[in-house]
């Protein structure tokens, strides 16, 4: 549902069905709404059958990469004598993304149920829910819900009376974007500095505490009980386009848009209808200029591209960007693209973990150049330098933070070069009425 707005008729509220419903937060409320039926069913099933249903459903990772969830689960090999871990990545820090936050705020038991089902399917004895440090309210809700689940016997050594042990722990991050990167998250969970690790080894071989680990996004895990309740076929049907993308997807919409909020539509929904019909289009008297559809680290779309996009993993790629985390950032015609891109670059420069040279230095350098151009002190040579730096930052580092910083810069210069040139030739920002601060700051 279009929380905090009323659900739109064209939405398909599955995960978001109870957003805004304060009665759904408690365990009893959740049970009344059909909660923990899936877990009960799962505990009576063979783990491999659960994994097969998830495989069959076509569910793909909702954190951004879109890796098939069932396949990921099948990498875990229970019974090898090692402890196994499930990590739920609730470090939702991608700028423009707040879908997981809503799941945790309104339906904390949906996530716990998803975690418990997944843990059972993978033979993971322990589950950690790693929550972003800034998410104080979701942290409170999750902590209370886990406590409630233990006291009601949903979790613990005899989960739902099945005789099976399922442990879920909530861990609070300290507020670093990079800890959303799965290997950095594991380092952080272990008490180390949140630096991404080199892969291989992959988490399924050596993850948290060096043990086999699977890491899934909040939305991915929360979708699992619905798949068990309604069947893989039901989930697969929720698709208007590519059969490789199935189910419903949450989008968090923000920026210059009339109805910002969290929406849920099926895969393959037309992006144009989504933006203008569901979200209400741009503010009165303005026009959309650009859309960043999947959080800060996906390429910026022009409206021509965005309006022709079908909202699924393949559809966004076909139109020059990615589904990413589903954080839709709307930019209207009164915004300066150079400023927006500089702001994104500044975010990545701030969040770089400082391991890889290209990322540590390149993100900050990029920021300085874009901000200098925005302040009217740029040259055309700066654009070539930016593209060259971006090239050096792409595909050469341990994780993709560096690439993520290069993405808005490259797509921005490619698609909005005239705005950069206007700053350079006019020696000022055409969108500013007051003089810019010095870029040297």
């Amino acid at each position: 549902m279009g929380y905090p707005h009323k659900s739109h008729a064209r939405e398909t509220p599955v995960l978001s069905q109870h957003f805004g419903d304060t009665d759904a937060i408690s365990l009893s409320g959740w049970r009344q709404r059909g909660g923990y039926r899936a877990l009960e069913q799962a505990l009576g099933m063979a783990p491999v059958d659960i994994t097969n249903i998830v495989k069959e459903s076509g569910l793909r990772g909702r954190g951004g990469a879109g890796f098939p969830t069932g396949l990921k689960w099948s990498f875990m090999k229970p019974g090898d004598g090692k402890p196994h871990y499930l990590c739920c990545n609730a470090d939702e820090s991608e700028p423009g993304t707040f879908k997981d936050r809503e799941i945790m705020r309104w339906t904390p038991h949906a996530l716990i149920e998803g975690c418990a089902v997944a843990a059972h399917a993978m033979g993971a004895e322990t589950t950690y829910i790693y929550i972003r440090g800034e998410f104080t309210e979701p942290l409170e809700r999750m902590t209370a819900a886990v406590k409630e689940a233990y006291s009601e016997g949903v979790l613990g050594k005899n989960a739902l009376g099945s005789g099976k042990r399922i442990d879920v722990h909530v861990h609070k991050g300290a507020g670093a974007y990079i800890c959303g990167e799965e290997t950095a998250l594991m380092n952080s969970l272990e008490g180390r500095r949140g630096n991404p690790r080199i892969k291989p080894p992959f988490p399924a071989v050596s993850g948290v505490f060096g043990q086999p680990t699977t890491i899934n996004n909040v939305e991915t895990l929360a979708a699992v009980p619905h798949i068990l309740n309604n069947g893989a076929e039901w989930y697969k049907q929720m698709c208007l386009s590519s059969p490789k993308s199935t189910g419903s997807k949450l989008y968090s919409v923000c920026g210059n848009v009339r109805r910002p909020g969290t929406y849920e539509v099926v895969m393959g929904f037309p992006f144009k209808d989504f933006l203008y019909d569901l979200c209400g289009g741009p503010p009165v008297g303005r026009k959309f200029k650009a859309i960043i559809p999947g959080g800060a680290s996906v390429p910026i779309q022009t409206m021509e591209e965005a309006e022709a996009t079908l909202m699924d993993y393949e559809g966004f790629v076909a139109k020059g960007t990615m589904l990413g985390s589903g954080g839709v950032i709307c930019i209207d015609d009164q915004q300066c693209m150079v400023k927006q891109i500089g702001r994104l670059a500044r975010f990545f420069a701030h969040e770089s973990c400082a391991q890889c040279t290209q990322c540590r230095e390149g993100t900050a350098w990029t920021t300085k150049i874009v901000e200098r151009i925005e302040a009217g002190e740029g040259t055309t040579a700066d654009l070539d330098t930016l593209l060259s730096i971006a090239d050096n930052m792409t595909g050469k580092t341990i994780c993709v933070l560096s690439d993520s910083c290069a993405v808005p810069v490259v797509s921005g210069i490619q698609k909005f070069r005239d705005e950069f040139m206007a700053h350079i030739t006019q020696k000022r920002c055409p969108y500013r009425t007051t003089p810019a601060r010095s870029a040297a700051a």
Binding site: R193, C356, A440
Partner: protein
């Protein structure tokens, strides 16, 4: 493990499976430029300098972290790989102060080397540079943050080798810098190695600070004489003065490291209070007269030798022969200090026996004693005392021996005004071998010229032996060593050639 065959820069390489591309390239004589990688430390693959092109791989691969595979074709110097490294070098330099003219590392700096080799000639960076103040890290280490490339070798050394996590990366992005944990200092006895490990001028030795430029130094392979571990070192001199000791790689002894005690205890090699000419009863004498006087002193008296465990195998071997020939007795004493191990390396420590050749002294027949004063007090005028470079710091009582012969670098005050003095070279001024506590015989080379008329101890002892009627006509130390190897079974088969610079263990 099975061997893998691959091609690096067009050359066939055979290495064991599991070897990294970087190490495999080394075996073919190809250096893959790198910063964060160090063979003695865990691999973080973060400097991204060693990116190489591996055919069929979608991206450039870090050579330090990528294992070799059969039939792999690796290009280190392809345009794509070079372009990537050029990009890394440019990034490393944008916030670097480029203060090579006042940087101690200049001339031995890997940032300098690789930038000259494959970096850009200019910088496209126009913005203000990041600035951080210089920080004293404690111990002998100073941190110049502005020159730091965040390779984290120092952090990993302290955490994974010294097991004393003092250093960490603090801050993020381009604000990142190396910091000490609160209330910690780099006072670990092996902490000075971070200076060596630092590929740039960020971690500097306070002791060596502003003393010399790297290109002014002369270098000689040596062995640290300051304890029985026998760490392999390089002695660096400027204008015939020792200015710095650095560890030299020996996988079997000290890996890449040496302790701070050994590193900083070099000033005695430059002592100004040396005896520089032979003398008899305080009067200058030429060498032949002085040797004759020494033989006179020995004649008709019981020989008592107090030998230094800092002497070479060669010197102790000849001294042992003199003791045997004259039916004398030989003693030595060893200065003591606390043992300080480097936890992350097996059998590597600053040893409590603080002298290089304790094992040698034992092998050549000298008896270890705790208190030489007792021996000295027991001497009568029927005895002659031969002091072989043993100063006995703190000792002051003149022995009641009938005669005293000093063969050494200095003349201890307690030997009085009457001895025959035969001046010798210290270990930096001669060539020789030491035997370490595990029986490893290791060569050291001459690093500087000896003062005045002083001569190597083996040469002086050869003359004394000849004058005493024993054939000992040795011109160079390798001849002494050959004689030693021929007469001592535990050294049999050894020669300077077979020892080379890595040494060999006695039987």
């Amino acid at each position: 493990m099975n061997d893998v065959t691959l091609t690096i820069e067009g050359r066939q390489v055979h290495v064991p499976a599991g070897t990294s591309i970087l190490e495999a390239a080394k075996t073919a004589g190809i250096l893959v430029p790198h910063y964060c990688y160090h063979p003695a430390l865990p691999i973080p693959a973060l400097c991204r300098m060693c990116l190489v092109e591996v055919e069929k791989a979608p991206k450039l691969m870090p050579a330090c972290q990528t294992s070799v595979a059969d039939n792999q074709v690796v290009h280190v110097h392809s345009a794509k790989a070079q372009e990537a490294r050029k990009g890394v070098l440019e990034m490393l330099l944008i916030n670097h102060p480029l203060d090579c003219p006042i940087c101690d590392q200049s001339g031995e700096c890997e940032l300098q080397d690789y930038t000259y080799a494959e970096g850009r000639a200019d910088s496209r960076y126009k913005e203000p540079k990041r600035f951080n103040p210089v920080e004293d890290f404690g111990g002998d280490v100073m941190y110049v943050a502005n020159r730091c490339i965040l390779c984290t070798r120092c952090v990993r050394f302290m955490e994974d080798v010294a097991h004393d996590a003092v250093l960490t990366v603090s801050e993020r992005g381009d604000r990142a810098l190396i910091s000490k944990f609160e209330d910690h200092d780099l006072t670990h006895p092996w902490a000075g190695n971070v200076v060596e490990l630092c590929p740039v001028g960020a971690l500097l030795s306070k002791d060596f600070l502003n003393k010399a430029r790297a290109w002014e130094l002369d270098r000689a392979a040596s062995i640290c004489p300051n304890c029985t571990q026998g760490c392999n070192t390089t002695i660096e001199t400027r204008d015939n003065v020792v200015v710095r000791l650095r560890p030299r790689v020996n996988e079997d002894v000290n890996k890449y490291f040496m302790c701070d005690h050994g590193r900083l205890d070099y000033r005695w090699l430059n002592r100004r209070d040396r005896v520089t000419s032979p003398s008899v009863r305080g009067q200058h004498a030429d060498w032949s007269l002085a040797v004759a006087a020494a033989i006179n002193a020995l004649a008709g008296r019981t020989l008592n030798v107090l030998a230094s465990p800092m002497l070479s195998n060669e010197a102790l071997f000849l001294l042992g022969r003199l003791v045997k020939r004259l039916n004398g007795k030989g003693w030595f004493t060893v200065p003591q200090g606390p043992e300080a191990p480097l936890d992350g390396v097996q059998d590597l420590a600053l040893r409590s026996d603080r002298a290089a050749n304790v094992k040698g002294a034992e092998l050549f027949g000298f008896a270890r004693i705790a208190d030489p004063a007792v021996v000295l007090a027991g001497l009568t005028d029927k005895d002659v005392l031969l002091v072989a470079d043993e100063e006995l710091a703190g000792h002051s009582v003149p022995p009641k021996a009938g005669a005293i012969v000093v063969i050494g670098t200095t003349q201890p005050a307690w030997t009085g005004t009457n001895p025959v003095v035969l001046p010798t070279t210290n270990m930096a001024e001669e060539e020789g071998t030491f035997t370490n506590l595990r029986g490893r015989v290791q060569r050291y080379l001459q690093a500087k010229a000896p003062p005045g008329e002083s001569r190597p101890t083996y040469a002086v002892l050869s003359d004394v032996l000849i004058a005493a009627g024993e054939p000992a006509n040795y011109m160079i130390p390798s001849e002494v060593f050959a004689a030693l190897a021929a007469s001592h079974p535990s050294f049999s088969g050894m020669s300077y050639d077979t020892l080379a610079l890595k040494g060999a263990v006695i039987k």
